[in-house]
Every structure is written in structure tokens, then in C-alpha cells.
């Protein structure tokens, strides 16, 4: 159903609020980043690249070889990714922004996970839906990529902070040359463990040690075997993109390549990221009912009782 709703959402916004394509926002201090050795590839080429490699780690190593080992980032070369960004609304919240209307997902799922997705969508049509983050848990990566709130991206010489305002959610990508945690000491984390290297203006990231979740409501599940490779870069003065390859053998019959884009919001709006306390208003508290759907715990519309 969501696939049908996404274009309609923007249509409604167009009608109700003048939603329109974002204008290019001039970002101060933006200079051309060095090109690096990894070429810009088309979606088809990136999809094929994912299929050429059996694991996310294999792909990451291949990109690292292509980048001649990659680079650490000297302070003089830190790119300017200044600004507050968000994911365009007309892309909806589907993990793959290029999902055609009427298509449930562009992922090639294993039969078990296709059946799970089919059931999820059927349940929603019957009015039954439960989002695992209703408990105020963070979305976790890779779902992190899809949330429609404010974002900041902060490269530094030794690590890059990928910030989503929702539940104060920060992914840290270590680019100081360190490796992942030893395999015997890994355990599932919401945002996993991310290491990376630079190739000119491109930040290449490998993330493992993730825990299972859903890509977004009415999207497929992923398991705690999921790993990703991402290439982050400034596409133009107002857009930062992430090429993303997802590997998750239990759920994906083949790697899933998607391209995410985050648009810099007009600085004139003076948007500021504040602390996000998910549990601050008891009117937002919900529970899962016996039939599996969502219901409020109960309201208090007394102003004195509205906030915890």
C-alpha cells in the first residue's frame, strides 16, 4: 500500500503546502573535492559490482584496492559538508528511493523473507501494523538511512560523524586506520561498527556487527548478519549522496544496491538540532495489542499531566 501512497503523499503536499522540488542551495565554502580513483558508476554498474562480490567485506576490499589502499584525511583536506540536511519527502520512506509505484521492494528476497514482507503488507491492509521502534528504540542501521528528519554530516581527520536527530542517533565511522573489533568479541549493535577510508572526496565505509530490524515500515526485514558498504560524497552544492550495498544472506538472494540522497535545507530556516527525548510525552506511549497492531496506552489531555 505504501508504494501507492508515496507519490500521493507528495501530491497531497503539493496541493496542501506547495511542496516542490528543492531549489539548489548555495553552500558556502564548497570546493571541488579531488576525484579519487574509484570511478562514478551508474546504478546498473553498482548493482553489478555488488553481485561480483560475495560479501560486503569482499566489496569493501575491492574498493580499497581500486582506491590504491585509500587515504587518511589530513586536516587540510577535510571536505565541507556543512549544513542541515534531510531526505527528500518525494522519495518517501522506502529504503530504495527508486522503488516504482506499486512495487513492494526492489530487493531480491529469499522466499522466507518475501513471505514475511507479503504478510506485513497484507496485515497493514487489514489495519494491523506494529513498528519495532514504537518502544523508543533507535531505528538502527541500515534503516537509519531512511528516516526523514534532520541530519548533519561531520568529517574529521580521524572519524566522520553521521548524525540523525531522531533519538540523537550518531553513527561514527573510524577512518584512522583501525580495523573492526575481533570476530570473537563482536555482538549485535544498533548501528554496528563502521570503519572507512577516503578516496578523494569519497568516504568508503564498511559496517558490520549489526542487529536485525526492518528497512522501514512495509519494507523487508533484515537479520543480524546484515553488513553494508557505503560510498558517501558531495554530489553537488546542496546534495550529499550515499551509494549503499546491503549484504544479508538469510534475507537477500543477492546484494541490494540503493542510492540515498540528502538535500541541504535552506539555511534561512535556521533549523537547529535539539535533544530528542522519545519518551517525553505520555500521549505518545503505545503498546502492541493481542492482534498485533498498535494502540495508545491512553491519553491525558490535562496540560499539567501532558509531559513527564
Amino acid at each position: 500500500m505504501k508504494r501507492f501512497l508515496i507519490p500521493a503523499v507528495c501530491s497531497a503536499l503539493v496541493v496542501l503546502a506547495g511542496c516542490k522540488a528543492p531549489p539548489a542551495v548555495e553552500a558556502p565554502g564548497i570546493s571541488s573535492a579531488p576525484a579519487g580513483s574509484i570511478p562514478q558508476r551508474t546504478k546498473e554498474q553498482n548493482t553489478a559490482l555488488g553481485r561480483e562480490h560475495k560479501t560486503a567485506w569482499d566489496l569493501y576490499q575491492a574498493l580499497k584496492a581500486e582506491a590504491k589502499g585509500g587515504q587518511k584525511l589530513p586536516a587540510s583536506m577535510v571536505p565541507d559538508w556543512t549544513g542541515v540536511y534531510s531526505r527528500p519527502a518525494d522519495k518517501g520512506f522506502t529504503f530504495d528511493p527508486d522503488t516504482p509505484a506499486g512495487v513492494a521492494t526492489t530487493a531480491k528476497l529469499t522466499p522466507e523473507y518475501q513471505a514475511r514482507l507479503d504478510k506485513r503488507i497484507a496485515d497493514v491492509k487489514r489495519g494491523i501494523e506494529w513498528d519495532p521502534i514504537s518502544t523508543c528504540a533507535p531505528p538502527g542501521h541500515p534503516r537509519w538511512l531512511t528516516e526523514p528528519f534532520l541530519r548533519e554530516f561531520v568529517p574529521t581527520p580521524t572519524q566522520t560523524w553521521l548524525i540523525n536527530e531522531m533519538v540523537n542517533d550518531i553513527r561514527r565511522v573510524y577512518t584512522d586506520g583501525r580495523d573492526h573489533i575481533p570476530a570473537e568479541d563482536r555482538y549485535p549493535l544498533y548501528n554496528g561498527d563502521s570503519i572507512g577510508f577516503w578516496d578523494g572526496g569519497k568516504l568508503v565505509v564498511h559496517t558490520n556487527q549489526l542487529q536485525g530490524g526492518i528497512y522501514q515500515r512495509q519494507n523487508p526485514d533484515y537479520t543480524d548478519q546484515v553488513e553494508t558498504v557505503e560510498i558517501w560524497q558531495r554530489a553537488d552544492a546542496s546534495t550529499i549522496t550515499a551509494d549503499v550495498w546491503v549484504y544479508d544472506p538469510p534475507s537477500l538472494a543477492e546484494p541490494w544496491y540503493v542510492k540515498q540522497a540528502y538535500v541541504r535545507l535552506d539555511p534561512k530556516q535556521d533549523l537547529r538540532i535539539r535533544y530528542w527525548n522519545c519518551a517525553e510525552n505520555q500521549n505518545n506511549a503505545v503498546h502492541q495489542t493481542q492482534d498485533g497492531t498498535t494502540q495508545f496506552n491512553g491519553f491525558s489531555f490535562d496540560p499539567k499531566a501532558g509531559k513527564k
Partner: protein
Amino acid sequence: MSRRLLQAMTVLGILAVGSARGLAHHSAAMFDEKKTITVEGEVKEFQLTNPHSWLLVDVKDKAGKVSTWGFEAEGPSTLARAGIKPSDLRPGTKLTITGNPMKDGTHAAIWVNAVRADGKTFNPRAGFAVR
């Protein structure tokens, strides 16, 4: 529920389309996306909170009895992106507000659009437009 309110209840599928999709954290399965209600009243309180804000509106029926409706909206930053400020909807502000109501009849709804007495409109979902 007042007769006036009952008369105001309409089924407007177009407005309902996608109403749940902009909401963070919890599903909106408890709201009826195929229905809209419209009430007139005055702001009791504007709770700017995450992951959802709530606009509490006191609605008076013909007998003069006041009941409070809660209208759920996006969090403060998305409201800011929609151009909705706390000072726009101070307690006592008179408005007409439309939303997708709860399926169980509770006096709560997803806030779709509000029109202040001076004609200014407030659509929280406009905050998801990138501009």
C-alpha cells in the same frame, strides 16, 4: 460528541492518503486514514514534543459542554520546517482543525490541517518537503 461535530465528520479519502506515513516511531494503525473530522475550538495547549507533538483543542458543543480533542503531529523540527511556531498557536487561539480520527472514537486524530481565525493555515506534513 456534538451534533455539529457529527455533521462535520466527512470521508475525504484524498486528504487521508498518506497521513500515517509522515509519523515517526509508532504506526498510525489506530487512526482511520479514510476518514476526516473537522472541529472548531480553541487551543488548550500546544505540546511540542518528540517523536510527536500534540495540539490540544477545546471544543464546545451546543449545550456549552467542553471536550478536549488531541491532534497528533510531527515533532518540533518537522513543525519548524512546516513553518509552524509555538507562538502561532497560543492557548486561546481560535481555529478550525481537520484530522484523521481514532478508529475507536477517542477524541484524538492525526492533525492534517488547521485554519486559524485569521485564515492562516497550518499543515504539519508540509514539514517533510525539502526546501
